[in-house]
Symmetry: C2
Subunit: 233 residues, 2 copies
DNA sequence: AGCATTTTATGACCTATGTCATGAAAATAT
DNA sequence: ATATTTTCATGACATAGGTCATAAAATGCT
C-alpha cells in the first residue's frame, strides 16, 4: 500500500466520473486525491471499518463482498476501472457495510469525504457527474434485485455472464472472451446461487454450445443471442 | 390530475431532500416545481414513458413496479412522503424502467430535469442533498439484493415487515401498527416470494405471537425482537 | 343489510435448487 | 516435471418453496 509514484498527472481526467469536467476543475481535484496501489489479494476495506472517503478504481479489479452468518461469502459487485466505492453520504461517515479486496494489482485514487464535499460545493458540474454515476448504479442495483426475485437459475447465470461480457468482455475470433477473476463459488453468490447449481448451468450452456471454457478462468460466449433469449421466456 | 391548489408556499422546505437548504434557495426552487394531485389508483408513470423530470412525494403513498414476462407484478419499492422517483432523468431523458401508481390520494411535486439540472448547477448544496439521498437508496437497494441472495422466506418476510415498520409503523399500545397499502401478492413480490409462501410465513409469525392481524390491511408487530432475531440465525 | 367480488389461508402435490459426497481437472507450489 | 492443493463437475438425495385447487374471510357495492 504505497503512494502512487507513477501517476503524477492526468489520471483523474481519464475517469468516467470526472471526464466531463473542464480541465481547470480536473487540475483542482487532482490536488485532493491520494493514489494508492495494492497487490492482488490485498484487503482494501474491511467490513465495519470507518469509511473516510471515496475510492475510485484507476486500474485493476476488486470485489466488494460481505459474509453471511454461516461464514460464506457473498459478492455484491465487481469494481473495474472507473468504478467507485465508499462513503457518498457526505454527511456523516459510516462503517463500511462490505469489504473490498483486490483481485489483481490495483490502483485506487482516494478522496476524503470532507475534501470531496468541499470540492463538489465549488464545482457543481462535478456533483452532477457523480449524481449521474450514482443514478446508474442505483438502476443496476434495482435491476439485480428484480432478477433475483423473478428469474430462475439458468436465467440468472445467463444474465451474469452477459453482464460481465458488457463490462469486461473482449471480442475475439473465438467469441466474447471473459477473463474471470472469481471462482464459481464467488460468481454463484453474485446471483444468489450455490456453486453446484452455477456449475450445472454452465455445463448446460456448454452442451448447447452457447459457451466454451478454456481452463477454469477463461470462458468464451459463442451464442450471445441464445443466452439473452433465456431472460425473455 | 390537477394543479395543486392548496400548496402555494412552504411545501418544498418541508421535504427531506431540500430541508438543509437556505430559505432563499428554497424560494428559488419553489418557482420551478409544479404540484400535482392524484387519486388512489391513478397511474403516475407508465413503464416505457419518456421521463421528463423528478417526482417528489409531498403526501400519500405510491408503488413503483414492473411486470415480468408472464404478466405478474413485481413491486420494486414504496414511495412515501419525501421519497422521489425519476432520478435517472437527470442524466438524459430516458424511458421509465418502472411504473408508478398512487396507493392513496397522492400529492407530488414535479421538477423538469432540465430546470433541475440548471438549478443544481446554481445551488450545489442542493445537489449534495440529492447525492446523499441517492446514496442512501443505493445502500438500501444493495441490502435488498443481499437479502434476496442469502435469506430464506421467513427471514425475508420478517425483514420486510421490519422495514415497513421503520418507514411507516406507528407505535400503539397494541404494538407497532402497520397500515398496509399492498395486498399479499404485492408484498410477496417485494421479497421475491409467492403470495402463498408469504401468507404461510405470516401464519407462522401469528402462531408465535410475533404479529397479529386486524382484517387484511392492518397488522401489529408484537415481538420485534424475535422477528429481528430471525435474520441473524 | 345483503350480495358479489376480491383477498387471504391452507392442503396436496411437484419441482428446482440446495446439500453432501466424490472424483476429475486445473492451478499452484516444490 | 512432479506433487500438492484447490477448484470444478456431477450423481444421489433432501427440502424449501412454487403450483394448483378450494374454502373462508374480508371488503366493497347497491
Amino acid at each position: 500500500m504505497l503512494r502512487c509514484s507513477l501517476c503524477n498527472r492526468g489520471c483523474i481526467g481519464s475517469l468516467p466520473l470526472f471526464k466531463e469536467l473542464p480541465p481547470e476543475d480536473i487540475h483542482d481535484i487532482e490536488h485532493l486525491v491520494v493514489h494508492r496501489t495494492y497487490d492482488k489479494g490485498d484487503v482494501v476495506v474491511r467490513e465495519g471499518d470507518e469509511l473516510v472517503g471515496l475510492y475510485i478504481v484507476e486500474g485493476g479489479q476488486a470485489k466488494v463482498f460481505t459474509h453471511n452468518l454461516s461464514g460464506s461469502e457473498y459478492v455484491l459487485r465487481l469494481l473495474q476501472v472507473g468504478d467507485f466505492y465508499g462513503e457518498l453520504s457526505l454527511v456523516s461517515s459510516m462503517p463500511a457495510s462490505a469489504s473490498v479486496q483486490a483481485l489483481t494489482n490495483l490502483k485506487l485514487c482516494c478522496i476524503s469525504s470532507h475534501k470531496l464535499r468541499q470540492y463538489l460545493l465549488d464545482h457543481p458540474a462535478a456533483a452532477l457527474s457523480i449524481l449521474d454515476a450514482l443514478a446508474a448504479r442505483l438502476r443496476q442495483a434495482e435491476k439485480l434485485s428484480e432478477e433475483l426475485g423473478l428469474l430462475d437459475s439458468r436465467q440468472r447465470v445467463a444474465a451474469l455472464l452477459l453482464n460481465l461480457a458488457t463490462r469486461q468482455g473482449r471480442i475475439t475470433d473465438k467469441g466474447i472472451k471473459l477473463q474471470l477473476q472469481l471462482n464459481r463459488d464467488e460468481l454463484a453468490s453474485m446471483v444468489g446461487l450455490r456453486q453446484e447449481t452455477f456449475s450445472r448451468c454452465l455445463t448446460d450452456f456448454r452442451r448447447n454450445n452457447w459457451i466454451v471454457s478454456e481452463g477454469h478462468k477463461v470462458l468464451y460466449i459463442l451464442d450471445e443471442a441464445s443466452l439473452r433469449g433465456l431472460g425473455r421466456k
